[in-house]
């Protein structure tokens, strides 16, 4: 590898204090690269976010001028709204079920496909196929037909319907998400391809077992991608909307069992027109997800390996 040779030469100067002009130039370069993002973040992201934060302290109802109500939305949410807490419970249950299942399935399939010589393209397309659909009305109807009384699952296992029982409906919705594991699978596959083959060849020469190779090469080299999928799927799971909205026809039923957080948020904001309240819900969610993500980032230091920082 030519890189190894240059690496030795590079390491010396790198350790020294870099000359100032170079540094300034690089800092300037960074802002050039960032400029589209900065513009987008200010106009299309920060501004709407600021407005929604402001609205969360008002009684904004979409049609009339917002009136400042202080923390009323927040106190009402925490103390007077049992349905809010039901939605929190449903969402947490969903996150705990759907995220690990979906990621595990995506990783297992990606690993299986990686080791495959023939038919990889076919399998990859076939496994991705459900994810092409999104969660449209029609797939929701198919899902309900399968998981309803007298549906396929009922006929095969005699479990009765799922989508019409408060204790089971959430699983049916979670399965819809798990079923569409194409995106994390493709990202895992892309990550697997980025692992240099030489690493495995070298390990093979050393006589390392497959399992050993998986643990000491695949997992660390793939860890940035595993981390990405974990963070993103967790964030998305907290915001789960479309599958439940479609399967329960927007109601989050039966008996509020699939009334996920954002579904209830939508209901408050756009059905009941309490956009102030919905904005407050959104900011509480942001803080909750932020906390969970921060914890994930904190733990990542001990298990995520970045080649660019590997020699530190």
């Amino acid at each position: 590898m030519t890189t190894t040779q240059t690496q030795a030469a590079v390491r010396g100067p790198k350790a020294e204090v870099p000359q100032k002009p170079v540094r300034r130039r690089r800092e300037g370069a960074a802002w050039v690269f960032l400029s589209p993002w900065v513009l987008g973040a200010c106009v299309l992201t920060l501004l709407p976010m600021a407005v929604s934060l402001y609205l969360s302290f008002t009684d904004y109802d979409l049609f009339n001028a917002p009136n400042w109500v202080g923390l009323r939305n927040y106190t009402q949410m925490f103390t007077e709204d049992p349905r809010y807490w039901r939605s929190v419970g449903a969402t947490l249950t969903y996150v705990v079920i759907a995220v690990p299942l979906q990621l595990a399935l995506a990783l297992v399939v990606a690993l299986a496909l990686k080791g495959m010589k023939r038919g990889r393209a076919f399998y990859r397309s076939a496994f991705y196929a459900p994810s092409l659909l999104g969660a449209s009305m029609s797939i929701a109807l198919v899902w309900r037909a399968i998981f309803n009384d007298g549906g396929t699952v009922d006929n095969l296992f005699g479990t009765g319907g799922w989508v019409n029982k408060p204790g089971w409906a959430l699983f049916a919705v979670a399965l819809l998400t798990v079923w569409q594991f194409g995106a994390p699978m493709v990202i895992f596959l892309a990550g697997l391809q980025q692992i240099p083959g030489e690493l495995y060849e070298a390990a093979e020469v050393d006589g390392a077992s497959r399992w050993r190779q998986f643990l000491s090469i695949t997992v660390p080299m793939l860890s940035p991608v595993i981390f990405f999928n974990l963070v993103l799927q967790t964030i998305q799971a907290f915001q789960v909307f479309t599958p439940a909205f479609a399967v329960s026809a927007g109601k989050g039923g039966p008996a509020d069992s699939t009334l996920f957080y954002t579904l209830y948020l939508y209901d408050r904001g756009f059905v009941a027109s309490h956009m102030g309240y919905a904005s407050a819900m959104a900011w509480v969610l942001l803080i909750a997800i932020g906390a969970v993500t921060a914890v994930l980032f904190r733990t990542s230091r001990s298990w995520v390996f970045y080649a660019s920082e590997g020699d530190r």
Binding site: A121, S125, L133, V231, L232, F270
Partner: protein, 289 residues
């Protein structure tokens, strides 16, 4: 250890591990594709069989579902709708690949002030449910005179507002050894040249993933298209098809399933055409040096 040795004249002994792998994959596929088969079958079922019948296969083929589904869009030609869809999805792909890789490079490989906080802010932008910012965003685009144009659908992509992809590319870039750029720097490359000629080619799997996801997600993004487009001649295929299926008025499940299948076809073709690029990763990108 199954190392695939070159086959000799003698017949290769049956590789049980591989057989098991294929059998496992096929069995999993059978379960996974069942709902899709259901969708396809239902699209040609007559109305009284759609929900009531438990048979996967339709009792009689009802092709008129497809006619009805396409009926809705007769005012605007399907070619026009398809062109609109392609224009938006194509614009989004270009925008996302360019802007997200630029931003990702800065976050992953360059040093600048407030990098940590800005990165945290970027991640935070995907934590706020989009319903909460929908109206402010609509107002901004309305004030900019962009409602009922394609700008609200494409412009955000050129401004790297999809943190999902920025973060994705960041993670891939951070996986590349730092020595690469340092070598390039020794050769006299500035950050721009090392971005274009060293880092970008090596991030290809992530860029292709970004392109494919952007295309599919933009194609399926009924909601944004619905909110920002007014004139039917500006509608996308997804929007036109879905607009016409109003579940609340009359029995239209058959046509609705047919419509789903029609709307699905272009992205299936797109995925089949481009998924092979997903394979080319390291092998062709020359990290071996």
């Amino acid at each position: 250890m199954t190392t695939t040795t070159p086959t000799t004249v003698a017949r290769k002994p049956l590789d049980w591990r591989r057989v098991a792998l294929h059998a496992g994959c096929l069995a999993a596929l059978l379960v996974m594709l069942y709902p899709l088969a259901w969708l396809l079958a239902t699209s040609v079922k007559p109305a009284d069989e759609v929900i009531a019948s438990l048979n996967l296969l339709p009792g009689k083929l009802e092709w008129s579902n497809y006619e009805t589904a396409l009926d809705g869009v007769n005012d605007v030609s399907v070619t026009r709708l398809l062109t609109n869809s392609l224009l938006i999805a194509g614009g989004a792909v270009i925008g996302n690949v360019i802007s997200c890789s630029l931003a990702a490079y800065a976050f992953a490989r360059l040093r600048f002030r407030f990098r940590g906080p800005l990165f945290a802010f970027m991640i935070a932008t995907i934590m706020l449910p989009h319903h909460a910012v929908l109206i402010p965003q609509y107002i901004i685009f309305n004030q900019l005179g962009m409602v009922n144009t394609y700008w609200p659908l494409i412009l955000p992509k050129f401004l790297a507002t999809e943190a999902f992809f920025v973060f994705l590319i960041v993670q891939f870039m951070r996986g590349l050894p730092r020595e690469l750029e340092e070598a390039a720097r020794i050769d006299g490359c500035g950050p721009f040249r090392s971005f274009f000629s060293v880092i970008l080619p090596l991030t290809r799997p992530a860029l292709i993933t970004t392109a494919i996801f952007t295309f599919i997600w933009t194609w399926n993004d009924f909601f944004t298209q619905l909110i920002y487009l007014f004139s039917p001649e500006k509608f996308t295929l997804t929007l036109a098809l879905r607009s016409f299926v109003d579940a609340s008025s009359t029995s239209a499940f058959g046509p609705m399933f047919a419509m789903s299948v029609i709307a699905l076809l272009p992205i299936v073709l797109f995925f089949l055409a481009f998924q092979r690029f997903l394979v080319e990763g390291m092998a062709n990108s020359g990290i071996k040096g």
